[in-house]
Point group: C2
Chain length 447, copies 2
């Protein structure tokens, strides 16, 4: 009854039932999501996806954020979801290394635009979708992730289906089927990390989940227990799991509150190392540096062990490159992860001075750094909670700065400010059309 109970929980949780702090965190999550989606909207992989929609003569139904093109509902879910993960700069549920908005936000915005829904309806479905996928992620983490599944897409497809199903007003039977159709499409191998196919994952999860809900609405039948069945999601995709976590304390505990926002444009596992190297940046001149030793949680080398990245994208999977730019530039924003920088001799020279030591006693948001200087002295520093983690979160002002730094360059300051204002006051709008109109004004900017 795990699947059915989850569905009944979602359908019995009205907008009014959701605590204000969850609504606020939902709006901030959407703000962060739209920022990273627009920030990456001119990336070559988005051009390629749009070229495919031209090949398919896709209908111009709804918006691609940051672009002038319109595409159909399913392609919008795919493209906007992909865009939001390109910079590896999106939100993270640290307990499961999950990026919850990626598969859900593009679905509620596409359906919202298509059906002319209100801000409240969108926020409601978004929160339920995120909550469902994160609880499923809790149930299968860590064995599922360790086996090799990209948990954002493999569980995100459920969140997308819940969000779409709520907006399409599916009844309990059909929403259960939607989860069945979604769950059998669960996918995403960590092997593709470091290529364009990683950001494709949340987009495709959004698309698969939306398709599931569209089909279920027509009466397309599926499993009634996709999560818990013998050959269902958990048993097949997670060597160890605890499905009790899916429904425990529903309505009291909110996983979405544990969603954090990244100050840096790479995987969250690198953030403590970046904090540590930014600390050194302020204290050590590159000319005086002999070497840097970083003691890290085991995931750092497992996920970002590339020693000689060849592209800016690969740089995000290299703790060596990342530590070097953080030390040299005092930052690790999208502007640091370029194809030029990974070939910059000055940076490569620093990379060679960085040594990584795995220390199983360190948590995922911790790191210990020791810089040895040429004069024989050394500086040590321990990061206890990386910036952006639950215990050291980004403040709203910092989120707004991040948003404008991503959006202004593509949309101009006025549109960027208005978009941020819209999302932070989302529930006050009776139709999300105002956001769409702002996106369309891009056309005026680019003239």
């Amino acid at each position: 009854m795990i699947t059915k109970t989850l569905v009944d929980h979602c359908l019995s949780t009205s907008y009014e039932h959701i605590p204000d702090e969850v609504k606020l965190h939902g709006k901030r999550s959407l703000l962060n999501w739209l920022g990273v989606a627009i920030g990456a909207s001119q990336h070559p992989s988005i051009d390629m996806l749009l070229e495919v929609t031209k090949d398919l003569q896709t209908a111009e139904q709804v918006s691609v954020f940051g672009r002038e093109e319109k595409v159909d509902l399913l392609m919008a879910a795919l493209i906007n979801g992909t865009s939001s993960h390109i910079f590896d700069y999106d939100d993270t549920h640290l307990d499961t290394i999950h990026h919850p908005s990626g598969p859900v936000a593009p679905v509620v915005l596409a359906l919202g635009e298509h059906l002319g829904l209100s801000g409240e309806e969108i926020l409601h479905a978004f929160i339920l979708g995120c909550e469902a996928e994160l609880r499923i992620a809790n149930a299968v983490y860590p064995s599922h992730y360790q086996l090799g599944w990209h948990i954002t897409s493999s569980t995100g497809v459920f969140g997308a289906a819940i969000a779409a199903g709520v907006l399409l007003k599916l009844d309990s039977e059909k929403l259960v089927w939607a989860l069945g159709i979604a769950g059998t499409q669960s996918f995403g191998l960590r092997e593709v990390f470091g290529t364009m196919t990683k950001p494709f994952h949340p987009g495709k999860a959004a698309q698969n989940g939306l398709l599931a809900a569209l089909l279920a609405k027509k009466g397309f039948t599926s499993s009634e227990k996709i999560l818990e069945a013998k050959r269902g999601f958990a048993n097949v995709l997670a060597p160890e799991h605890d499905l009790e976590k899916v429904n425990v304390n529903w309505g009291e505990d909110w996983e979405l509150l544990k969603n954090s926002f990244k100050p840096y444009a790479c995987g969250i596992v690198l953030h403590p190392s970046i904090d540590a190297c930014v600390y050194l940046h302020k204290r050590v001149s590159p000319d005086h540096l002999e070497s840097i030793e970083l003691k890290v949680n085991p995931y750092v080398l497992e996920l970002t062990g590339k020693e000689t990245p060849q592209t800016g994208l690969e740089g995000k999977f290299s703790v060596y490159f990342t530590a070097a730019i953080a030390f040299l530039d005092g930052n690790a924003s999208e502007k640091q992860y370029t194809d030029e920088k990974v070939k910059d001799e000055k940076i490569i020279e620093i990379q060679k001075k960085i040594r990584i030591v795995v220390d199983e006693s360190l948590k995922e948001d911790e790191v210990e750094v020791t810089a040895l200087l040429k004069d024989g002295s050394n500086i040590t520093h321990k990061v206890l909670h990386a910036k952006g983690s639950i215990d050291n979160p980004m403040q709203e002002e910092e989120l707004l700065t991040k948003f404008s730094s991503l959006v202004e360059e593509h949309m101009g300051k006025s549109i960027s400010d208005n978009m941020a204002h819209f999302l932070l006051n989302l529930e006050q709008y009776s139709n999300i059309n105002e956001l769409i109109v702002l996106n369309q004004q891009k056309k005026l900017i680019s003239k």
Copy 2:
């Protein structure tokens, strides 16, 4: 190098390199595929998929077989692939319980129509796609299937990508990426068997594989070793595997030659039991029957153990119902699997007289039946090779009869005959347009 070697094998195998018997079997596979696709083309689940394409205002690019509607390339792959698996009457590679045409045929026909390709080009890509997916299936069977994966979709997505990539003339680097994009989308849980979502699997695999090739053609990057990487397809989706099987004796052994065609409209595991009960049908009057005992391979109960199916579709997953209709009607065609028949008291009475005994010594195409009669006598019979198995294959004449029995009702005899003639002489046509024109004549029939 497994993935790269497979791609290089495919790209270096010209049409001329393929033995004539493989080409013939390829054409027969396409004939069988089109028959089952058109046969199920009026099914409610196809109506539902087409309703979704209306919601999406999908472009009218290519044909849905057996229907008047046209949809875009990706939706055609999805819908035609789904249609072909609805009756559970499609082809089967018995070594892996794989239905190879399902994910591949809809891709080559959609691209063939869209690009105006020749019969030879289509047959070439179809054979390579089937060969690739079956070899991958060999490498992960049985652990992959036993874990709960529907091997037709989970490995079929590779076949679809290879076939599409060959037709789109991808070079080696891009075809490797296409496999990366396809492989990370591998999906399909056996939990949904018995619902509309099972036939959705080969269709979605076709769609995912085609999308992968379309994206790779634009330069969308992905893994270069999706099959063999630590967190790639085999390690994540198959507890045990032998990837040597992917490339062994390429060009000498042809897995497609082991593709068999079903005489009955249900899963292949039931076919020996049906043969056995058809044998009894000819010898025992229902009035004289006391009980039937079927000794079967373990997969029979695992896959088709439903004791009281409630719908015709569920009947296909019930060895009890299937044995009963085979005994009463002497057949197990699509006409036996109806919602009326599963509620027919006369059939249910026979169902109750059927006992299934699992015997691990029996192969998948074997069964031993014992009928006990009311007069105390009994009849026993052993099926050594079920009809449709490699050792007892359907002949071309039987395939043609199956095709016309599926197609005539929807297209009329003349179109049905012309379609069959076209497919059996596929390589002689410089453009597959003739098949498309035949399909469009459906419109005239339905007036």
